[in-house]
Symmetry: C2
Subunit: 322 residues, 2 copies
């Protein structure tokens, strides 16, 4: 079975069949449909090796997998990875995994991977201030996109991110609408792009009179932080939290004090679903699909000459705790 | 920097350096140490492409990633994947992901992947009765191991599995020791290897007088199943569940009825940790490392001529609910 067979059946040229497979956007919808029907009728399976020879590409992209974490927030990047593998599969790409311990190790791993495998591109996650990875790849003309904006740096590459500030702003507005006025924030130490954005959204929606507490991202320090806030003279009646882990700690603290306190988490993890925690949900599958879309544009030479940036709005999932 | 430089520094032959990198077991510990020190001092990075040319191998293994699920039990295979990527990295391999919708689609994907990429081996998960994937790979001499035994079929390939029955037996014995006598089981419909094994462990530890209920794996059907068991004339005072999702449903049902009922889940997910659910924990990182170890043996030609089977014991994590 070859592309020629499909072309004959669909009554189009071989180039058109190739376009439908590799750059469907350039083919008219009606023609595309006819070619896809022919592909289906004939049971044609795109031969990757043959395609690679034609296009000079491996259709292999690499992404880092994080060490297994406590399981509450660690699931966020797992969900992104599921979405990326799905989107890559639909676009005819495969995903290769690697692990790395810090930026320097990750850059050394790029070097090793690029020497060893015929990789097309990288998807970078967990961007942060002073991130050296993107300039390393850019200097070597290696195509990549990042899930996460280049914090504190200009947009010199394409990226997809979630509007974290919009998420906590929506959470805070939900609490204001329910009549809360003293709304606290339980967040991470300053300096992390994501954490600062989540704090900023709360601050923007509430104004300058809220109290906040900085904690490392665990249930225990969430509980300790919430205890400290709730024991203040004018304690908050509601808490917006930078993660579901912190929110879970806040719920424990409120229960321990016998206090009614509305709590909203962030990430809409399985734990939030299980315990009825109101939480901000990130559109991770969409973020992954957009990353893949930007990469495909880059690899097909269809990308505009300036970087594309995609900021996706999160949504508030209202359950029992607020 | 080449292998020759390392060999000169360590005062050994090039072959010995190559052995330390590719088949360390065949080198004496003392020599191995000296070569490793030389590698470290010289900052030598094994060049994968060069190694591939020497060994004729890509050092690339493929594993399926499941569609994202409800997040409670879906995390089990994610944890296995993290462990596999870690173990593969240590052994000098990389992991490639693919998705598949059913056995036939997975087999078609093997065909495509083997045509397109120079893959060394597959790791198969979610083995089941009448699984056609293993014989397809075996017929084509493609190296593979399975995480999960060949249910209802002879051991014709190497596998690693968790002793599911031992897990529910331990849970049941824990409840018996606490004085419970009427211990119910909330499990999946008969026919799934894993589900049947979990039921069997409970049955073995308790004897023939327990009541059980079959439910699909969700919080809602767990709650419905538990309600039905708890409304019986002589209701159980404790429930062993085939998953944390079912256990969460059981807890909801007991609360709804205002009934005290001990509950034990399976998988020790983040949800179990968050709500204090006693649960059976699978040694997933170890299972992944053992899979990688068996594969490395196969690929290095060090495997015995008969299949190796590894059955790992799970452990009970006791929290508040039992």
């Amino acid at each position: 079975m070859t592309i020629a067979t499909v072309a004959r059946r669909a009554g189009v040229s071989r180039q058109t069949v190739s376009n439908v497979i590799n750059t469907p956007d350039v083919v008219r919808a009606e023609t595309r449909e006819r070619v896809r029907e022919a592909i289906e009728e004939l049971g044609y399976r795109v031969n990757q090796a043959a395609r690679q020879m034609r296009t000079g590409r491996s259709r292999l992209i690499a992404v880092r997998i994080e060490p297994a974490r406590d399981g509450i927030n660690g699931s966020v990047l797992d969900r992104f990875l599921h979405g990326l593998t799905d989107a890559a599969g639909l676009a005819g790409y495969r995903v290769m995994l690697y692990t790395a311990d810090g930026d320097a190790d990750e850059i050394a791993t790029y070097d090793e991977l690029l020497n060893a495998y015929d990789l097309d591109a990288f998807v970078l996650t967990s961007t942060h201030h002073g991130d050296p990875r993107t300039s390393w790849l850019a200097a070597r003309d290696v195509p990549f996109v990042t899930f996460g904006r280049p914090w504190g740096a200009p947009d010199t590459h394409s990226w997809v991110d979630i509007d974290n500030a919009a998420g906590t702003a929506a959470a805070t507005e939900h609490l204001l609408a329910a009549g809360h006025r003293r709304i606290g924030f339980l967040g991470w130490p300053a300096g992390s792009g994501v954490g600062d954005a989540r704090r900023e959204g709360w601050h923007r929606a509430l104004g300058p009179w809220g109290s906040s507490f900085e904690a490392t991202d665990s249930v225990e320090s969430g509980a300790a932080g919430a205890l400290s806030l709730l024991r203040a003279e004018e304690p908050p009646t509601a808490l917006v939290c930078a993660s579901d882990s912190l929110a879970l700690g806040a719920l424990q603290a409120a229960r321990e004090l016998g206090r009614d306190c509305a709590v909203i988490g962030f990430d809409d993890t399985a734990v939030a679903q299980a315990i009825g925690l109101t939480s901000v949900s990130q559109p991770l599958a969409e973020a992954a699909a957009r990353c893949m879309g930007l990469l495909a544009e880059l690899l097909d030479g269809r990308a505009p000459s300036f970087p594309t940036t995609v900021l996706l709005p999160p949504s508030l999932v209202v359950r029992q705790t607020a």
